[in-house]
Symmetry: C2
Subunit: 348 residues, 2 copies
C-alpha cells in the first residue's frame, strides 16, 4: 500500500494577483478589511479564480477513535465517552453540530478506531481500522498495516468529500485521551521537550497532569527514534484517527480544496500531513489558537496565524468552524462588494 502523495500544487498565483488587485477596486479604504482581505485572496487562489465562488458545501469530518493510553489515567473522562459522543454527533447534540449549523456547514462523523460495542450505522464505520490503539507510552499504537489502512481511509474520505461537492473542509477530532498522542507527535516533529507540550486536555487535575506528563515523556522517547519517518511515527505514537486525519489533510491539498484547521489534534495531524505531502499547508488556514500549549508549536512550525483566539479547547472541529463565517465573509466581500466605478464612489 502506497503512502506516497503526489506533488502538491501551490494555490493559483494568477488568481492571487487578481484578488489583490480587485480588493483595491472595492468600495472601502485599501486594506481596511485587514485579515479578511488576506483570507479572501487565499480563497481565490485556492479556487483558482477571482472573484471567488461562495462556498457551496463546507464540510466537517469528525475522526473518532480511542487511545490505549486512556487506560493510564491521562484524561478527565473515561474512554466510553468516545463512542457515546459519536452517538451524540449522529443525533446532532454536540457543539460541532450546533456551530456548524450556524456556519452553514454539515457534519460527518466517522469511527476510525472507537473501542465500543455500539452498533453505528454502516456509513459511520465504513472506514474503521481497528478498536482503540496500543498505549503509546509503552507499545506501538498501530501496526504498519493499520497505518496503511488509516492513510488509505483518510485519502478515500477526502476524495469522497471533494467528489461529493465539498469545497471547504474541516477535520474534527473525537477521542478520549487523544491529546496525549497528539502532544507527543507535535513534540517529536517540533523538537520540543515534554514539559512544553503537556496540556490540561479536557480539564485534568494535577494528579492526572502528572500521569499525562509521564506518558508523554515515555511516548516521546519512543517517538524521537522515528520522527523522520511519518509512517513510522504514526505507527509508534499515533492512532487510526490521527493517521486518517493526516492523510485527509494531505489529500485535501492534492484535491486543491481549502481547509480550516482546528486545534491540537488536527494540528498534530497537520504536521504529519506536511511531512507526507510537503506544501500541503498552503491549502490550510488556522481557525484558532487553542488553549493547549503544544498548539502554539504547530502554528509556529506551519507558519500559520490563527484567525481566532477564544480560549477554546474542545476539539471536534469547533475552533475551525467558529472561523468559517469569517472566511465566508472574506470570500463574499471580495466577490460581491461594489467597485468604486460601479457604485460611483470617488476613490481616495
Amino acid at each position: 500500500m502506497s503512502t506516497e502523495f503526489p506533488h502538491i500544487p501551490t494555490p493559483d498565483a494568477q488568481a492571487h494577483r487578481e484578488a489583490v488587485a480587485r480588493h483595491l477596486t472595492l468600495t472601502k479604504p485599501a486594506g481596511s478589511l485587514g485579515r479578511l482581505e488576506e483570507l479572501g485572496v487565499w480563497v481565490a487562489a485556492c479556487q483558482g479564480q477571482c472573484p471567488p465562488r461562495p462556498f457551496a458545501r463546507p464540510r466537517v469530518v469528525v475522526f473518532a477513535g480511542d487511545h490505549g493510553v486512556a487506560a493510564h489515567g491521562v484524561s478527565a473522562f473515561p474512554a466510553e465517552v468516545t463512542g457515546q459522543m459519536v452517538a451524540n454527533f449522529l443525533t446532532g447534540g454536540a457543539a460541532i453540530n450546533v456551530m456548524a449549523a450556524v456556519a452553514g456547514a454539515t457534519v460527518r462523523v466517522l469511527d476510525l478506531g472507537v473501542d465500543t460495542d455500539a452498533e453505528f450505522p454502516e456509513q459511520v464505520t465504513a472506514h474503521k481500522v481497528r478498536r482503540s490503539s496500543g498505549s503509546v507510552d509503552r507499545v506501538d499504537a498501530l501496526t504498519d498495516d493499520e497505518v496503511y489502512a488509516a492513510i488509505a481511509a483518510g485519502r478515500a474520505i477526502a476524495d469522497e468529500e471533494v467528489d461529493g461537492g465539498a469545497d471547504l473542509l474541516v477535520a474534527g477530532d473525537m477521542g478520549i485521551a487523544n491529546t496525549t498522542p497528539a502532544s507527543i507527535i507535535i513534540a517529536a516533529l517540533s523538537g520540543s521537550e515534554p514539559v512544553a507540550v503537556v496540556g490540561r486536555g479536557t480539564g485534568i487535575d494535577d494528579q492526572a497532569w502528572m500521569r499525562k506528563a509521564v506518558a508523554i515523556r515515555d511516548g516521546l522517547r519512543r517517538a524521537r527514534r522515528v520522527s523522520a519517518n511519518p509512517v513510522a511515527l504514526l505507527r509508534t505514537v499515533g492512532g487510526a484517527d490521527i493517521a486518517a486525519m493526516a492523510a485527509f489533510l494531505a489529500q485535501a491539498a492534492v484535491r486543491k480544496t481549502p481547509v480550516i484547521l482546528d486545534g491540537l489534534v488536527s494540528g498534530a495531524a497537520a504536521l504529519v500531513a506536511e511531512e507526507l505531502a510537503p506544501g500541503a499547508s498552503e491549502w490550510w488556514v488556522a481557525g484558532h489558537r487553542s488553549v493547549e500549549p503544544a498548539h502554539a508549536l504547530v502554528l509556529e512550525q506551519l507558519n500559520l496565524t490563527p484567525i481566532l483566539d477564544l480560549d477554546l479547547r474542545l476539539g471536534e472541529g469547533t475552533g475551525a468552524i467558529a472561523a468559517l463565517p469569517l472566511v465566508t465573509m472574506a470570500a463574499r466581500t471580495l466577490a460581491e462588494m461594489s467597485t468604486f466605478t460601479d457604485a460611483g464612489v470617488t476613490e481616495g
Copy 2:
C-alpha cells in the same frame, strides 16, 4: 428636550446563574468553549432567560454624517464619499451589506448629517439633524438644539428597532473624517494626550496625519473644558451622527437589548453613552479590536475584551457584524446542545 435616560437595569442575574449552571450539564468538558461560554451566558442574562432564544432579528443601523473638519485635509477621501456610500449601502454594495447577509443580519442606513444634495428615500432622512458639522478644531460641531435633536433621534431609532423586533443591535458609522471627532472624544473622556489617539483612519499619508494631529490637538483643547458634560462634549466636538449613535447605544440598554460594538467611532459614541446612561455598557460586548490606537483606550475605559482582532479599520459596523456569528454560536450552543443526561454521555 430631555437628555436624561432612565436608570439602566443590569442584565438578569438569575438567568446568568442558570446559564453558568447549564453550561456544566452540556456534552463538553467544562469551560472548553472558552469565550463562547461567557458570551452565551451574557446573551441569556440580557434576554432574562436560560436557555437563550436564537436571535430573531439582528440589526445593523449605520449612522451617516459629514464632518466640517474634513475640509482641513484630515482624511484620504473627499467628503462627497459619505453621501456616495449612503447610496452604496442602499443598493447593497458596501462591505457591511455583504457581511451582514452572511451573519443573518439586516442593515438600515440613516442620514443624520450628510452634506449632500442627493435625494435619499424619506426613511433614510427621517431623522436628519443638519448637513455636516462645524469644524471641531475651531468651532462647535453642533448647537445645543442640534445635540438635543440628535439624541432624540438616536433614542427614537433604538425604540423603532426594538419595537420592530430587533433583538441584537449594531451601530455602524459612515462619515468621511469621523475618526477625528471620535478620537477627540475618546481622548477627552479617557484623559489621554493627542498623540495617543491619532490614527491613520482611512489610510492617510504622513502629511494628512500631521494635519489630523493638529486638528485633534486643537479640538481636544476645546473638548477638555466640557468633558464632564456629555451634551456639551457632543456640541463642542461631536456631530449629529455620533450624538445619535450615543443615544442609540444608551437607549438599547434602556430597552434591555444586547449590542455588539464596532470600532473607533462606535467606541467614542459608547463612551458618551456610558456617561449619559451609566451601566449601559453591561449590555454591550466589543466585537473587535480596531487598528486605530484610540480604540484600545475605549476598550480599557469600558473594561471590554474584544472578541476578534483582525486588523480591521473600516467601520460601518463591520467589526461588530464579523463577531455576530460567534455570538450566535454562543447563544445556540447554550440553548441547543444535548446534556450529558439526555445524550447518555458519562460525565468527567
